[in-house]
Symmetry: D2
């Protein structure tokens, strides 16, 4: 939760002003339901709304803090300050509730708010990826396995692959959002002994949450663990895209570069440097978000009906993981959007390997022509190794190999070295990822 | 993957015999599709099934291993041995596929098989929890927050809470199963350059998988990361239930005990010991399953179209996490099923605190009677602290407090100390968790 | 790094004022060395000290931030502001250095400062543990394995065990401090191409660091990973002590309690509650500190001579892990120091099990008297199970068992039920832990 | 613990034969000490050695397993089988010990044995790194920060950097080995109630361990956590070296390659591939070893004097982490030893950037010549950006820049483009790392 890696809307979610505002809404809506049930006077509920339905200013927050320093209990401090606003009817507030009801339901609201921002971030990333995918749908570039040139792909396919991955990320986050969007107003140890379940139902509906089927004073922490786990998976996808760009930008590859603004300085010592610092930064941010996953899982096994060990963890990882991921996704969208593509370098790299990338097609053609798989492999590897060692290009050398020419005539052989062969199914894949054109 | 913590069906999934069998099915189904497309002769596809459709015996596996020791490539070793079975038509096998197509699709099949076993395990756990929940629906016992007696709950509510949690676990696993149930037969770097997408569609359908929309030689690892993350969350719920039982079994509480078979020895040194070793063991197993989560996430950011760093990780955590969780869930189901409940101890603990558990009801009644919340709190706390220090029971002391009796008459006061008040909404909660009776 | 869980001295370490001050010291000491070498004029070095050797006020920090917003490079922003202070001679500052020299050496200083505070914290914890160990050296209490009563220990032994553990923690932190206390002023890619190694040696000596033997523009991150790993181990020991106290405070045990100040409110709903919230909080804080360990390890594998992915991670976990652990250790020292011990409850618990805790002694005596180990075990377990089920106390029942009395006469039997037997070696253990009395 | 990633010596450490052998040694040495103290007859101790001092064959292990299946307690099963070997005097074995004494001391022996193998592995890695460092001490190659060409280093410096890192790894492992090399024979709950501390001292000395100062039935788990944490840091250094080699081997860089044996097949589909699969594998293995760190830390907070939740974790991560790291280090030593260096590619890459790597030297020379730092930076960056965009080489363009030539004459300028400038201090660094020549 450091300013350098935070954006205002997400950071504000976790500020006291938003938290106390949600606490107020929970209490006030509960008062309405309690009044409907005849548990408290209708005028009391009205008074709460009339006198309490305002924003939490710095002054009010400071007052709450001052009370908490004395009573050492945050919800009691909040209620005391609220009573100062509302006056006598305030004694009807919080009837039958326990602190956890307020805290956990508030956290649920904050996490759904956070999820909504993250979903909007993912939409930005998806939009940028789709735009770049369409732009470079047929920009043929080298595909690499193990860092070694393999066979051609298109730059658009790379973007499409990430689009599909972030679309999965989005679907998982939607599910995780639903998982944590529950409301518990069940009182001490969750039995509703002193509060009617109708209160919970009312507040839940007002806040856009579902009632927690069975709470034990706390909302069960497997929900939160699942949420943070999903953030960790998303962060790992951020890392994959960041690493891809870092690779593409390295000097020897240089097929793409992060946008470098005029006036930006890459290095205090080396003026020529243009470094992929945004994606390196994203790589680090992914580690931080992942760092929240196991602590969140350790929070699940609370003792009996509840202990409060989860609280300090959530005070840290709640803001940290969501703020960091929000920042990372927004940064990522910008990086993708403004990524500078060097098509000349892409083409140069494609031609670097003397046609070795077509070796599999030759292998298959030999097999089709009746050569055994093992012999075909041996034939192609023999020549490929020469190319690899810099002794010429594959087509020329194969044309000089009588064992090869015995199986494949020259036209057939030449035809195997055709890039368009590798892009035949790009449309199919794009349709799978982006739907019908 | 140590025998002590494994069950045969899950362990067998990860054995070479199952793996090679799945590889065979992938290749054989692919041959059918290739034959339909006219890429290979129909007789070749038939020959593969006729001569190759048998189980992988130890002898065959040994032969594959021997070949691999030479060629240092597992899929090539497999294909070579298959060619020894099938003869000449074998040269048409694996046309246009790359090793990753076979490996990744096989892993998808294994993980769905593992998920199915885990879902069955979860059903066992759920059944045991439901049975015990119904049995003890109205067994009133002490609810505890912070390890401190709070207010009464029922033992059935405890079981219901875990039932709801494991039902969520089940739903998440169903989703995670779907997430990893994809088939990729897209060839080198995933472009289908040398294989028609129809082959993938055919094999996917035969194996109960969906085609991977866009693969890059590998099935993207965010799918697997999500799967292992869900296992980690489930393991954490196992831990919560295990910790609950360990607490209930501790000497001073002793409300429940793991079943202790005749002839079992609790300690080599202390013959009287009956230890909750199964649930302690489950606590440890949860740590192991969680230990797979971050490595699985680190596997996501493969370089370019793929590197093979994920492979060693998956060879370890694939079997380890699923076998361990399978064992843990089965053990947990047994522990719940046979858990010995000591109703006498439950009742004794309930009465231990001199009625302090009713303090909140008194607080609320005072407030309802017109006392301010702060005064009511002070009044109750003053007496509660005496009870806490062993100076009598709450009802007796309150009856002697003129400030209290000024607000509440004796009948009203006595009525607050009624356990049934705390079980009024058990039906509601059970209906939420288990549905209509 | 949230105020609730931070203490001022540690938090200040990570504030911009301290960071920029250290940057200044690095640059100014480097100027001295450069002047000695004749690389820059002696007057320039003098000017830097004379005009720059002041604290970093909020105004200066704001100025640096403003420059950074423009140039997007923190060290360049710092140098530009310094030049505004120092004037023309400032152009000699930072000669031959690269930003990482300043950043990494500064981080080393901050981490040693943090380590020193943590060592002082550990000394507080150790002092409290020692005092309580001595106080309760012979307070016999029940020892428990698996949460089940085992044999008597003393409360002092519990404290001694934690003292030994925190003494190990201290030794590990001293080693980890040494591990990260290095200075690198080796210039771009670490070759000293544009800076003499003598500069590094001078600055290192001035800052209490050792020169980094071989840096690659950055100080290698295995050093930092080791440091955070040690913090994680220490946090786990904090958790062990916290869990011990939480257990001792649970209602049914209640042998010890966190100090509960007058006026403190345990629960907004249940006035009688006195909860172990400090140790529950410590349990959560331990999870947070551990959450930094794997990210720190992931920071090790930087690309080639360096990438900057580590930076965002360290900006977060550097402050978070040290501030949290500092807060946790200070809180822990206070908890131990003020822990309320209930000797009456300790004694009651000791007598709760009808003498079962002496079962091993009986077992051994039977073996010594010639009974086979298997028979002795069977004999003792038979009676022990009756006691466990509430049918009397062990000594009485054994006296009525003719097989037992055939082997052991009554005086011998009675003698086995002597608590002092269990405290014979407390002195030995205390001497091992605390040294000679 | 899968055969593919294990070496025989380390795997054997964790086999039952070694475990039971260590158990026997503990019990037999304890008998000697007990006999010396007069607790058991000297003949009994002698009998144990005479009849029991043999290896644990498969038959004996099967017998122990059969007994354990019945009694459900491993140490009792072991003792029962030992009694079958030793006969009547066996009833004196295990006097006053508890199972944990045997298990924990055995684990300490196994972990020291494992540490010794790992130290030997590290020595292999260090030897290989030193040899290659010396071989390529002056092989100038491009240094890269952020994946971007920075300034020249030497290949020997790269190796030296890793040598220093693995030397630190070695020192940390030596310390961690000492940390876990303790012996506890303190009986139930660690009070020595039924066993004299002299027994522990005797057994510790015989096994090369130190007595555990204060055990609580178990050896405290912070020791083990520290051990596994150190393994995790070492694994991260393995990853750094693996990632470096993977980068050097990528097609566009190709400065070094893993040795590729004749007959090896890189890809079933693409015969030309030579992939860095060993270092990719090492990257994955590092993730596995790191995966053990947090579970080991979670093992620390055992309940009261002990629970057994740590046991299942250690049964898995004990073998897995040590076997995997042993395999990884041995593989790494081989990779380094046989790494193929392409000096032609190194030189070509060095010249790729048109002299941009000398930009800092120009910057410094301009500053020395009286140009302000800001102006110098602007001057150099202006020209550097042209070179970066392919418009010529740095020296030529600078010679055409009148602002530059006004400050630097031609000879001075040319002199700045001298590689030897960057290797001036290689000797200094080598002396720091490898000591005096």
């Amino acid at each position: 939760m450091i300013p350098r890696y935070s954006r205002p809307a997400m950071a504000a979610l976790w500020e006291p002003a938003n938290k106390f505002r949600i606490w107020f809404l929970i209490e006030a809506h509960a008062c309405d339901a309690l009044a409907d049930l005849g548990v408290i006077p209708a005028e009391a509920a009205r008074a709460v709304w009339e006198k309490g339905d305002t924003l939490y200013t710095d002054a009010r927050i400071a007052r709450i803090d001052a009370i908490e320093a004395e009573v050492k209990h945050d919800v009691i401090a909040f209620l005391t300050e609220l009573a100062e606003q509302v006056g006598e009817p305030a004694r009807f507030v919080h009837q039958g509730l326990t602190s956890s009801d307020v805290l956990d339901t508030c956290l649920a609201v904050q996490m759904t708010q956070a999820a909504d921002l993250l979903l909007a971030d993912l939409d930005m990333v998806l939009a940028a990826l789709k735009r770049r995918a369409m732009e470079h749908k047929m920009t043929v570039c080298m595909g690499r396995s193990h860092g070694i040139h393999a066979e051609p792909v298109t730059l658009g396919l790379k973007f499409a692959s990430f689009h599909a991955e972030f679309a999965r990320a989005r679907a998982r986050l939607v599910a995780a959002r639903e998982d944590i969007a529950t409301c518990a107003l069940s009182g001490a140890v969750g039995t509703f002994a002193n509060i009617d379940p109708a209160v919970e139902a009312h507040v839940a509906a007002k806040l856009g949450l579902a009632p927690e089927p069975v709470s034990t004073q706390v909302i069960p922490r497997d929900r939160h663990a699942q949420f943070f786990a999903v953030l960790g998976v998303i962060a790992s996808s951020v890392e994959r895209l960041a690493v891809e760009i870092r690779h593409l930008q390295r000097t020897e590859v240089r097929e793409a570069e992060e946008y470098f603004s005029p006036g930006q300085k890459g290095s205090s010592a080396m003026p020529h440097k243009r470094n992929p610092i945004l994606t390196e930064n994203l790589t680090g941010l992914a580690r931080i978000v992942r760092g929240a996953v196991v602590p969140a899982m350790e929070n699940v096994a609370l003792w009996h009906e509840r202990d409060i060990s989860h609280s300090s963890v959530e005070r840290m990882i709640g803001p940290d993981a969501t703020i960091t991921l929000d920042f990372a996704l927004a940064r990522l969208a910008g990086v993708v959007d403004k990524l500078v593509v060097h098509e000349d370098a892409i083409e140069a790299n494609l031609n670097r390997m003397g046609g070795l990338v077509f070796s599999q097609r030759v292998l298959l053609a030999l097999t089709q022509a009746g050569v055994s798989r093992e012999d075909a492999y041996r034939l192609v590897q023999r020549t490929a190794m020469k190319v690899w060692d810099g002794d010429g290009d594959l087509l020329t050398l194969l044309r000089a190999d009588s064992e090869v020419t015995a199986a494949l005539d020259d036209a057939t052989l030449a035809d195997l070295f055709d890039l368009s062969h590798h892009t035949r199914h790009v449309d199919t894949i794009f349709q799978r990822v982006f739907g019908a054109a």
